[in-house]
Subunit: 322 residues, 4 copies
């Protein structure tokens, strides 16, 4: 059982209060439908983690918790084992009492690329759509956010997040809510909304953009990161059954197409702040994610192509205002 | 606008938490449907009441708030006027900084009659169904209850309650929720449930008893007060269109019938702790309730009969366990 | 699978049309939830019954279907076997091609007692609440009703009804809808509504009366049959756990109490047209209902008492107008 | 009031029966929300049209109804006036007793272009999504369809359809249901589904394609007509606020992009059977549609461009199987 009571207490008196009209019922149904053996084992892993409060907590340059006194070897082994039982870890890394959770992605690199370009998060209430393990939620808190809310429907990611939270001293500034954005009421209440790595998985990119807009307050800022292709306005790649081995990839826009879509949905001040080819150093197999990774998704003879023959993954970050 | 956020915060982490699955949506709808001129004026009256903290607060022997320094005459006049604008006051009395809100009913007398017989309220979470102005909620707090929740669908009573709350120093130990018991989920969570003056207004007394049971925790105590008639088991008066000028009076049971009903619904340890004819001193016209009262509902030639010819009001208090 | 399409076709263009707004969805859910082994076997029995059209069909004096040419012995055995597989039969009897389905109750006797007193059913659209096997539905058709609708939530009774319907030549003038009256919209559309043997099984007799009223058109007639006790106005027996071995018996009113309730609910022209003690000839064990019957529910030493010591079953028929 | 009872009767016993689980409730709500002055006037116009049965009815080559005996001049004037009150007529033409309803579009030309390419409609149950006045529904009946169902949320179009139906002799082979495709359950039941002139108005073309697929039976045929652009695979024009003065235009795909989308959604046997620039003869202002038409939407100096500078409207017809 995950207890969302702390989150309900927080939003009962802030601008997210209307969410109480739908969320508790949704999460109650979610809990009933989610209980299965695997989920119970994950919860069990969280329960067995120690209640621990870091002496040093760095969320600004990384996600790092430390004690002045190092943990015993046994304790370290036990925590490592418990965290490993929550594999695969896709987004990280986390450094917890000298245990280094080396996830598939160097999500800190992505954060570093975009953070100089976005508005200050100081005192902000922010939403991260498709937050995965919640890595960026902690970095948002590190950047001064008052409340960071992540949504993602995957139960494993919730458990990874709750495990990290416990090891960070049961920090209540970030929260993970296991819903999809389509299940949220139109809150029009967040200062900043992040959508990173989600758009190309949506059948309807425009509906996704409108959904993001519906969460922003009137002057809120959107940070959108997506796969893009080289190309002109009005071009968008729709791959066949798979793209870089991923299923459920729909529209991968060119940069001018993405700008056009944002404009169509009424966003303002649209800028592209970063364009990067994903490197084999940023996304790779580790001890914490042992199945195929980027190297296996690229054409072995030409790393500029996916195994399916499409352009290799390139990602861009767009910033815009409501 | 009434803000229920404080209540949501309280229940988010206690045994009433499942109520969050339905209540915020219901109250949001309720607020939309309730906004009318009268309601806005009442809210306005509450808003104009001063934020005031009593130096002395007695909820044990009465509902009395005092300042060491008496209010100015102007202040007293203004508060009196604002409270008068929330008339008629049916349940009281309240003594607020030397303003005596003399309601139609001496609800303190009723409290005095039943309080020696009920289980201790110390630290309890209690529910008062049909709580009217909320008079008894404050007395429950005075008797040690940790949280007193009153429900009643009437908007005026909510406003009377909120006015009193403000003058008691914005006390958050009692809360008024404007719903009917039939709108509540089966919480099975209250230590004590009061239903006073409600049963004979229900088309289905048994359903009312089951609804009360569904709010009690496994060893919870019910305090039920209702009109009764003299009579044998299996007798229950169903008056015609009116009883003592009240519409919507359905079943008025004899005492053995009431015991029988409670038994049928699975209640245990049923006892009758008080039987009282309502006197002309307990229910009467005052400056705060200026329309007809008991004297007008009785046969002028025979105070043992109502104007319709039924037995004059007699009330009994039953105590039972789930 | 029971196909309700014929019924939907009939009501699509008559005064019951608003029922289409809720019924198909309800019955679709019902079908999904009802499928179990027993139900499938009953459906199987119906499917194996022959498609047969009677040469003589009497629904006026009894429910009797005949062929000029008697069925073969094998055919008779087979049909008898299939109908037996739908036991127990509580309401009857049915005479089908010389097979006599001798149900527990002589429901024809009840029909005979009340039929002289009720308004003509000629051309009427009628509802039978708690219709059991549907015996009276066919008699209503025999009495001239244009459409007879029975409701009862029990799947076995639906199957009994459909078996009889098939053997009556797939007659489409009567229909059985497996819902409770509380699941019906307020149709205000039936000329006559029957509620026989239902009221004392309801926790709330008044709500039952209002529900019946909500099905009648503005000048419609109610025929209500219920257990009654000897007694004064304001008397109603509420038995303990069982009455004549039946569970779920709530209020058994005296006749003046029943009249009082009908009046309270706004019925007019209330009359009592029959009061009968149930006899051991009318309700008894047969080959088609082999478990305990009335004889077993009465005190062996005093047939005026039930085994629980209450007055033995007495039933009255009330007629009233909306 | 439009009575959908005839339609409910038809579907109660055919493969569309599951639609009864949602449609009557939807249409009841729709009727309540749609009643306004204009709608009442349109209904009034329909009511005043004569009940008339054509001696000659041609739905194969056109939509033409005739009497052997011509109507009187007064009758002709009256009908013309009533039909004019249902203007603007966008899709036609209809020839009714020598009254020629000359709509903005020569929808017969479009029909002529596509009809040689589609599977036989003989005995088929077909759906026309976005059916406008229902012109093509009658042509589908003319081509042998057993039942033609049109959906379109616009109340005026429903009234135009019902007016035509009445003048065609109250023909019950075609039906207009005022809902959007997103409001339909997944019927998987139509032999042929038409979507003409709809796709580019949808925020999510893929969701539209999936919705169409969900209405087709397992071997059903889709006929999809849409605006297209010249261009390569992965190109789709998203115009700014307006395209040819139309608001709410989202994706206008190239032909290979459209094929790609259909493939992505799992359609088979995809072919393009017609590509046509819309001519000024096919879409133009008439007495029955007196506001701006195509000529006004094109660049006056270059009819190959819209006033906004995009390529002038070109439309293609795609055929595919589920």
């Amino acid at each position: 059982m995950i207890d969302f009571g702390n989150f309900y207490q927080i939003i009962a008196k802030n601008q997210l209060a209307p969410w109480l009209e739908t969320l508790p019922a949704q999460l109650s149904t979610w809990q009933k439908n989610t209980i299965d053996n695997r989920f119970n084992q994950w919860i069990n892993s969280i329960d067995h983690l120690p209640n621990i409060t870091p002496d040093v907590l760095d969320l600004l340059h990384s996600v790092t918790a430390k004690k002045h006194q190092p943990l015993s070897e046994g304790e370290t082994k036990r925590i490592t084992h418990l965290l490993m039982s929550l594999s695969p870890w896709r987004k990280g890394p986390f450094s917890l009492y000298d245990i280094f959770v080396d996830a598939e992605w160097r999500s800190d690199w992505k954060w570093q690329r975009l953070t100089p370009h976005i508005g200050s998060l100081e005192g902000k209430t922010v939403l991260d759509v498709g937050c995965n393990s919640g890595y960026h939620l902690w970095r948002m808190i590190g950047a001064g956010a008052k409340l960071a809310v992540g949504i993602d429907p995957m139960p494993l990611f919730l458990c990874q997040f709750e495990a990290i939270r416990k090891l960070l001293g049961n920090d209540q500034r970030a929260h993970f809510i296991p819903v999809g954005i389509e299940d949220m009421p139109k809150l029009n209440a967040f200062d900043t909304v992040f959508s990173m790595g989600v758009l190309y998985h949506r059948r309807s990119p425009l509906d996704h953009l409108y959904q993001l807009k519906d969460q922003l307050n009137h002057s809120g800022q959107l940070i959108l990161e997506t796969l893009v292709i080289d190309g002109e306005e009005h071009q968008a790649l729709m791959p066949g059954e798979r793209y870089a081995q991923m299923r459920n990839v729909y529209f991968i826009p060119s940069i001018p197409t993405m700008v056009n879509w944002l404009t169509k949905c009424g966003f303002k001040n649209i800028t592209v702040v970063d364009i990067s080819k994903t490197t084999l150093e940023e996304q790779r197999k580790t001890d914490w994610m042992t199945s195929d990774s980027l190297i296996d998704f690229l054409d072995p003879n030409d790393h500029n192509k996916t195994v399916e023959g499409y352009s290799a993954p390139m990602r861009a970050v767009f910033i815009a205002n409501k």
